[in-house]
Amino acid sequence: MASFLVHSAALVAALAVLPQLVGEFWAYTLALYFLYAIAAMGIGLCWGQAGILPLGQSMFFGLAAYLSGLSLIHFGDSWLLLVLLPASALAPGLLAYGIGVLVFRGRTLTGPFFAMITLALTLLAFQIANSWNDVTGGFNGLKNIPGLPGLSDFTDLYYISASALAVCVLGVAWLRRAPAGVLWRAVAENEQRVRFCGFAVQNVKAVVFGISGVLAGIGGALYAPQQNLVTPQLCGFILSADLVIWAAVGGRATLYGPVVGAVLIGILTADLRDEISWWEVILAAIFIVVVLYFRQGLMGFVEPRFERLWRRAAARDIESPARPGAPDDTGFALDDVHVRVDRVRILEGLDLAVDRPGVYCLIGPNGAGKTSCFNAMTGELPVRSGRIRILGRERTGAAADVLSRIGVGRKFQAPSLFPDLTVAENFNVGLWGGRARLADLVRMRSHRWSSAILREAQARFPFLAEEDRRAGDLSHGQRQILELVMVLIAEPRLILLDEPSAGLSQAESREVVEAIRWVGSRLQACTVIVEHDMTFVREIADRIFVLHQGRLLASGTVAEIQADERVRAVYVGASA
């Protein structure tokens, strides 16, 4: 918090003295590029944090500029401006959020598709702005837009832009540090894990896109009174492209990168475009070099040094809130479940039921349908027929984030976590899932949450207490354990673990067995484990289910299964 206040004071002071240093002409030029910088920050937030590249940022900038221009023309000296101008800035945000909800709903669109949709939308927006003469003034645009009432001087314009920039920079700085920022970076790295932590990823992405729309909106709404002219080019492809280049060259993943990029390149361009005819070519070459070799951009060389100061894990001195409303029922039941992908039959009438707490192992030869059984339960594979009950209700085909919120946790076969986040941030995403309300996601104190299971896990596995380490730097076995703990600290009632002991040493494996037993009995949970390692199975299983060719072949205690002729036949390859 202290560092945030220092940062704020320094920023405000710098922006306040700048006009004295550079003179009135440059202050006026800066005032324009500050507005672009705000819009570029939105791209930084989407692309550098959440990993979704919007190629249509100018659509929102232009929309806000038209709205604010029309407001000023028609209600230039009315008090209504106090409502209309903020509304012009917010409207693009709502539009962006709406687009985000529609586009991201129900599907994980890969990056390029989203980028191309926004690009196509921007081209459409240009066509509308260019041809809807009655409202937008067509090709010539809106002319003679009055300035903001009560302002006259060029320096006034500067201070308006600078204040907007300061507010936006500090707001974005806060969001980046808050849980929301961690969540966005987590989405960029591993969407699936975020979903299995209980977050509706499509909403997370739509929100960040909406915020970036508001940032573009603020820039656009102030553009109209400052430049007194709004033309269709503001919605056009070229401005969108420029904003992306500025964010990339300045450093998309950094706070100040988009600002530095917009101001530096923007002003250099304005100054050099006419003097050096090859300037735009040089700029394009610089952009290519950045994409190829310096993905972090200019500020990428500077900011991470400061960032390390505040990214240090906070002391966990607040007990995390209890998970709300997990159902009392335990267990699950698969009833005649069929799964097919194209013509390949994966599950062929699987019946499997567990109705009391305990540890259950799922074994079977490769291709028996063990992982597919998990995938069918958590909605990763479409179920063609049959029904799946989970924690007391039928939830066939329910989405992973919904299941996670009611108390289903799943660990994947290959460790699925957030390699570029710290161990602390990995834990936090696990803790916030299902517990954090919207307000908790913008509060710094949520970084300090702790829980009994987390403390116990850190005592059992001391490396988990080194929370500042990058998760990707851990060994394979350590990552397996980290993912397991992320699943367990969400306190699920149904725990699905896919080969939790793969890649562990014998000592680690024993520790994992104990930890699973301890958490399972504490939470009164059903733990289902897919496992090949029979030593591990013998140690942990209360009951074993054997799958073969997509059906249940046998079930029973370890001894019963070992004595079962059919199971032996399957494993040695004889026909059953």
């Binding site: 390029p112 980028a115 191309m116 949709i117 952009f287 290519i288 993905r295």
Partner: protein
């Protein structure tokens, strides 16, 4: 038949077949290298400028063909080496890098020739009577050449040894490499080939287009939309995609105006990107 209808039908066929040539180059590169070359349209643009250059030198129009192939082939070779190859594992960055390349080429041409529109004289003037409708001879020739080009390339791809190798690499690059197919060279040649195809289209279309540095932008967007609508699976997809995009644009433009034609294409593309991102004929 009504001469106006005939003219419109010929326009649609012309639009679709020339678009198919441009898309074919883009699709071959994407299919094999998984690289969406956003600078593809700029190669069309450079091809068109080659035609313009040849005209300023008082050379015959056909001299533009070897010139464009040479220029774009060379640029393609360099680009593949320094820009595409290092980014194979990062498809998203390839998109950005080729997009940067498109800006670079566009701005470079602008720095040389300026922003103004240039026109290239039609090498074949006059019109031909088709079912009672007079249709420009050059357009007719172009339609025929485009259809022949696409058909010939597809035939070659299906039956030649190189075509088989390419299909093997598309299917499984590692296995193809391990049985002795020179994957790197094949990838390079394919990229260069795609660029040359775009350049050829640029030369052919130059007399019918207002030649200017931003001309490539329209082509890359339309080609991309064709791939989105048609899907990346097959020739059928490519042709139906070109049919939908080229057909809709020319029909709506004929009924209303170009703004509506273009906007309709954009809306169709957005709907496909959103609701059916794998297109009509997805790759299996």
């Amino acid at each position: 038949m009504d001469p106006i209808l005939t003219t419109n039908i010929l326009n649609v066929v012309y639009e679709v077949s020339t678009l198919a040539v441009v898309v074919l180059g883009l699709a071959v590169v994407f299919g094999l290298l998984n690289v969406m070359n956003l600078a593809h349209g700029e190669f069309v643009m450079i091809g068109a400028y080659c035609a313009f250059f040849v005209q300023t030198q008082d050379l015959p129009f056909l001299a533009a063909v070897p010139l464009a192939l040479l220029v774009c082939g060379f640029i393609g070779l360099v680009v593949e080496r320094i820009l595409v190859r290092p980014l194979y594992a990062r498809p998203f960055d390839t998109l950005l890098a080729t997009w940067g390349l498109s800006m670079l080429l566009r701005e470079a041409v602008e720095a040389i020739y300026g922003r103004g529109f240039r026109s290239v004289a039609t090498p074949l003037t006059g019109s031909v009577d088709v079912l009672g409708a007079g249709y420009p001879a050059y357009r007719l020739l172009l339609t025929a050449v485009s259809i022949a080009l696409v058909a010939g390339l597809v035939w070659w791809f299906v039956q030649s040894a190189t075509g088989r190798r390419i299909r093997a690499v598309v299917n499984n690059p590692e296995l193809a490499g391990s049985v002795g197919i020179p994957v790197t060279a094949l990838a390079r040649n394919t990229f260069v080939f795609g660029c040359c195809l775009a350049a050829l289209a640029g030369v052919m279309l130059a007399p019918l287009l207002p030649v200017n540095p931003t001309l490539g932008l329209d082509f890359i967007l339309k080609s991309f939309f064709v791939l989105v609508v048609g899907g990346l699976g097959s020739l059928v997809g490519l042709i139906s995609g070109a049919g939908v995009i080229g057909g809709v644009e020319s029909v709506v433009s004929a009924v209303s105006d170009r703004t509506w034609g273009y906007s309709t294409v954009l809306v169709i593309a957005i709907l496909f990107l959103w609701l059916r991102p794998n297109g009509l004929f997805p790759r299996t």
